[in-house]
Symmetry: C2
Subunit: 315 residues, 2 copies
């Protein structure tokens, strides 16, 4: 297994592939790209120009350059030289498997291969590979060049050491890798977003709210909190001094109410303890009051920022 990744290949250059290219270039990598669609290179270079403005503000690696991107006309050639390969072809299982098997054949056996798939489990995608042990899912979020989250999931045949290396690699390019230990359709982040998205569609479908009202119901309330704290820590703070323990006692019964069309899990003692222990461990030695003070400082600054940049502000 390679000690260091110097060259990366990006296969498939839609919105997600281009986002990866922009991030890799900004981090000072040589990038080789392949996409069979007509005009792909032109669109990619335009997308990189667009992303570069923000990446310059975030800070570029000393040797970062947009000129270190090369397009190839042939998939085999595009991956022959790479240390890491990121696949981003359309979300169709057979297509992804075909492309990944071709990559597998032409890449050096010790290379790592990641797939941007948002929903397909890695064990399915790696099934036909000769060297499946170096394959994993690396699922990013749009815009990939700015958002830090990447879900990293190995399949049944993935080598654990590869996941560790991938984790370090993504941290080194300013990302926040989330290594998941179980495979599941849609991974974790998209399942959460999909639950909210389906509820949003129900509300619009049933004539309860418009799309704009749904969006505002998120932005001006929970959205401001979620930029800093997820749903568990948010409720930990809503529980007062006793945190999540009090919260579950007070609002646990609400899981029986007909809110949302999503069936709730049984709030067993075991689930309760798992949730409470998780929040307490995450908070470390910070009390709810200390977390609240930090949240407030954050929110005051964030409110200034959003007032400047909310979509309806046209300045």
């Amino acid at each position: 297994m390679k000690e260091a990744i110097k060259k990366v290949s990006v296969i498939g250059t839609g919105v997600i592939g281009n986002g990866w290219i922009a991030r890799f270039l900004a981090q000072g990598y040589d990038v080789t790209a392949f996409d069979p669609a007509e005009g792909a290179e032109e669109r990619t270079r335009k997308a990189i120009d667009h992303a570069w403005t923000s990446l310059e503000k975030r800070g570029l690696a000393p040797d970062a350059s947009k000129d270190r991107l090369t397009f190839k006309d042939d998939l085999a050639e595009a991956v022959a030289d790479a240390d890491y390969i990121q696949e981003n072809v359309p979300e169709r299982e057979e297509l992804k498997k075909n492309v990944l098997n071709t990559i597998d054949q032409h890449a050096k056996p010790e290379d790592m291969i990641g797939s941007s798939t948002s929903g397909i489990m890695p064990s399915i995608l790696q099934a036909g590979m000769k060297h499946p042990e170096r394959f994993f899912v690396a699922h990013p979020f749009n815009p990939v060049y700015l958002l830090p989250l990447v879900e990293v999931i190995g399949g049944k045949k993935t080598n654990g050491a590869v996941i560790e290396m991938a984790n370090k690699f993504f941290e080194s390019i300013d990302m926040k890798p989330l290594v998941l230990h179980k495979e599941i359709d849609g991974h974790v982040a998209d399942r959460l977003m999909e639950a909210l998205w389906r509820e949003a569609l129900h509300l619009v479908n049933d004539g309860i709210a418009t799309t704009e009202e749904v969006d505002n119901a998120i932005i001006y309330g929970a959205g401001l909190r979620w930029a800093q704290m997820g749903p568990f820590l948010t409720f930990h703070l809503a529980g007062g001094e006793q945190g999540m323990r009090h919260m579950l006692e007070q609002f646990g019964p609400a899981l029986k109410l007909p809110w949302t069309k999503l069936e709730a899990p049984e709030l067993t003692d075991e689930l309760k303890e798992r949730v409470i222990a998780g929040c307490e461990s995450y908070s470390g030695d910070q009390s709810v009051a200390e977390l609240e003070a930090k949240r407030n400082e954050f929110l005051v600054k964030l409110l200034d920022l959003v007032e400047e940049y909310w979509p309806e502000s046209k300045q």
Copy 2:
């Protein structure tokens, strides 16, 4: 109906009631409070002190003062003098109805009364009132003194002019009122949050992810976007130049996939058009590219901010 609100009463001083008091005081109002629990006044004054640090940074009204809060020992007395009354007693239907009926008896008939209920429909709460036409739900979000969202919902007996006045009043105290035109259990924002919350509990319950991993899956991805754009506008931008129209064509079929335990609505042509028209109308004359540029500027600044204030940063 009163032209101007000068004095407000806050009934029930838990986390939400205290949040309202802090906001009203910071906006320069006289506030009268009532809560039968022992030590309530002391806890409230402590909570106000805590909130005041942030409120000073946000900017206080010229005549704002923590000293303009008075506690009363009697509910009738606490509402006798008010122009606006905000009820925040525990979320039990019978208790809320009893308290609201008492408020209704002792408040001047032209006063407005809002309830912080997070789930109960206004028609149910106003059923026993003598003057139900001045009653509505005004559902805020924690911390109430910082988060702008307040859902405003009238019941069957609510006067439309009252809703208009409430809307103006909340705007005048630096809030973002979302007037809903249909009653539904859990209103809108909590239904959306509850869908995500239930999915989060399923993921923890099924051993797919820990609470910390779920939180990180939100914070570092969608959460950063949701502080500025809701789920609809987010997907509008993910659709490229064609926006939501392309998005629904490409990812609409994913609604059939077994992601999340929430059943999806049928993506009818009518629902599609409603969603597309909503996004296009919200965006006004801003193209997807213009919205993207604004999103990027926002995200660059937000990333600096969250790196300073993410919960695991202990500085």
